[in-house]
């Protein structure tokens, strides 16, 4: 440790390109908004939830590492800390959705609130005042906690104070409770709420499971980019990728378990107020996506990621991550857009514009912030354990 203080001077590139993509996307968003408001809001919400899930999933990853006092993940944790700290920016990117009002959430329509029996009965929860209070609470809490973890960890880069690790472990316990409730209710309010007649208590967990899969995809891909950029295979070790790959595999199985359980109970009980969700997703081309997800989101990645040879090969693992991230987008598309386009999926300009706009700004802000400090939490007392971490697979690889 003495001859090397683990200061990485390399910077991750691509910032200006993403900023350009964001600006281009924003212009295209305006165009698509002029053309068709409904298309725009459907697409914008889908892309927003995709990038929000990366941030909330990363937030989850950070506090779980602190709760578990894990050493293996120290060097790759900075990526997650930084992307979780995009959550305050996500609040700004959410403004168009809020301004959308009843074009996004149909129950905000005064007529529906007064005359629709089911919506009327849910008035205690589904009312605008409470909706916006909740929304402010989600983003407020996410901002406070995500910035706390990033700033404390960066402070530790300088001070090397182990007491900060103890402190973060304690805060992580509170963060877990806050996160579980806020993300669940965000999914209830802004995804399940698109169809105010339907409900599922599993829904929040389903969104959570997808967000963690997405988070691991992002973490692995970014760490792979950092490994290539810095050339430090001793810091971004194959064992780290292998273990992140295992967790990706496990959480993808968890997503399947939750998705299947939700479907299974509804299908078996066969009650009209529950089955309408799948009824909507059996119409037109939605049916194709409904049948595709179990194969492409679960079965193929399951078999692909099973072998450790794949998980230890950074290129092969990255291919799996790109595939799964795409599936996570299609999954969100399938959750959100049938509420806007009943007849079938139509992927168009508005979708591309929203991905470019939100993704461009999201990645630009992420890269800028990541480059503004050391690329790894070099002050973490568990760094030494992380650098010698060996997950016990016998290989002839040179580390």
């Amino acid at each position: 440790m003495s001859k090397d203080n683990y200061r990485l001077n390399d910077k991750l590139g691509g910032g200006p390109i993403f900023l350009g993509a964001g600006v281009l996307g924003a212009v295209l968003c305006v165009v698509s908004f002029m053309q068709n408001r409904k298309d725009f809001f459907a697409s914008y919400l889908t892309a927003f939830c995709f990038f929000l899930a990366i941030s909330t999933g990363s937030f989850f990853f950070v506090f779980v590492q602190h709760l578990a006092r894990s050493a293996w993940s120290v060097t790759i944790r900075r990526v997650s800390e930084t992307v979780a700290a995009n959550l305050p920016w996500m609040a700004l990117l959410f403004i168009p959705v809020v301004l959308g009002g009843k074009d996004v959430l149909p129950w905000l329509d005064k007529n529906m609130m007064a005359n629709d029996a089911l919506v009327h009965m849910k008035h205690g929860y589904l009312n605008p005042t409470f909706l916006y209070i909740r929304l402010a609470a989600y983003f407020g809490l996410w901002t406070v906690f995500s910035l706390y973890f990033l700033r404390t960890s960066r402070k530790q880069d300088e001070s090397k104070d182990p007491a900060l690790t103890t402190q973060m472990g304690k805060v992580a316990a509170g963060a877990a409770a806050v996160f579980a409730l806020s993300q669940t209710f965000f999914a209830f309010d802004w995804i399940m709420g698109l169809d105010p007649h339907w409900f599922s208590t599993m829904f929040g967990v389903y969104f959570f499971a997808g967000s963690v899969v997405l988070q691991y995809c992002f973490l692995i891909l970014t760490s792979a980019a950092l490994r290539r950029k810095t050339g430090r295979k001793d810091i971004f070790r194959t064992d780290h990728f292998h273990d992140a790959g295992k967790l990706l595999f496990g959480h993808n199985v968890f997503w399947t378990y939750i998705g299947f359980s939700q479907f299974f109970l509804i299908w078996y009980a066969n009650m009209p107020e529950e089955t309408l969700f799948f009824q909507h997703r059996a119409a037109g081309s939605w049916k194709f996506i409904s049948l595709m997800l179990p194969w492409c989101h679960f079965a193929i990645p399951f078999l692909y990621l099973m072998s450790w040879h794949v998980k230890r090969n950074i290129v092969a693992l990255s291919v799996g991550c790109v595939w799964l991230a795409t599936m996570c987008y299609i999954d969100l598309y399938w959750l959100i857009q049938p509420n806007f386009h009943q007849a079938g999926a139509h992927f168009g300009l508005s979708d591309i514009a929203s991905i470019l706009a939100i993704g461009g700004f999201f990645l630009f802000l992420f890269i800028r912030r990541l480059n503004s400090a050391n690329l790894i939490p070099s002050g973490d007392p568990r760094l030494a354990d992380c650098l010698t971490y060996d997950n016990g697979v016998i290989t002839n690889e040179q580390h």
Partner: protein, 184 residues
């Protein structure tokens, strides 16, 4: 003529050497590995992290055994339900089709897990050569420390590179103590 005990000539099983610490036995194992020995083993009271790499062991076959057990369980579980519902005793339940495959998922999954557990247990025993009543190393008094504080390397006589003098010398050179020839 009937054989008596005294007629049975003891056969050399291998050479046993003791090491002072997990670290010593780890580095000794690397040297035995590099000499090209194949039929030998390390004995320790607890698992030593990375010892499999130091011994040059290959990838375990357990993964494949587990995979095929799991597939046998899954296909068996699904096939059993399919055969019952479609052919042996077709009954319409809850207005569902005769082949309500989502309903078969839990019972497809469970034998998959069960068979994997069986496969892993039996596979582990077979690959380890267990169960057995007797092992030649139990004749060594000193070896009893393997379950207390002793770290051992035993190179077996069936290894093609084994030679009583050279193997003994190798174990001495790499820091082995209390070297003894174990007879079967």
């Amino acid at each position: 003529m009937e054989k008596t005990i005294s007629d049975v000539k003891p056969k050399v099983f291998g050479v046993l050497a003791q090491f002072a610490s997990p670290k010593d036995v780890y580095h000794a194992a690397e040297k035995v590995r590099d000499k090209g020995y194949k039929k030998w083993d390390v004995h320790s009271p607890f698992p030593i992290h990375g010892i499999d790499g130091a011994m040059g062991l290959g990838d375990s076959r357990m993964g494949w055994i587990a995979l095929f057990s799991a597939m046998a369980g899954c296909f068996g579980g699904f096939g059993l339900q399919y055969w019952i519902n479609m052919f042996a005793q077709p009954v319409v339940i809850g207005g569902k089709p005769l082949n309500p495959y989502p309903a078969f998922v839990p019972v497809t999954f469970e034998p998959g897990i069960l068979f994997t557990a069986f496969g892993c247990l039996i596979g582990m025993l077979v690959l380890n050569g267990l169960p057995r009543w007797y092992h030649a190393l139990f004749t060594s008094k000193n070896f009893k420390k393997f379950s207390d504080d002793g770290f051992f390397i035993c190179i077996e006589a069936r290894d093609p590179r084994f030679s009583l003098n050279e193997t003994r010398k190798l174990l001495e050179d790499i820091g082995g103590r209390n070297i003894e020839v174990v007879e079967d």
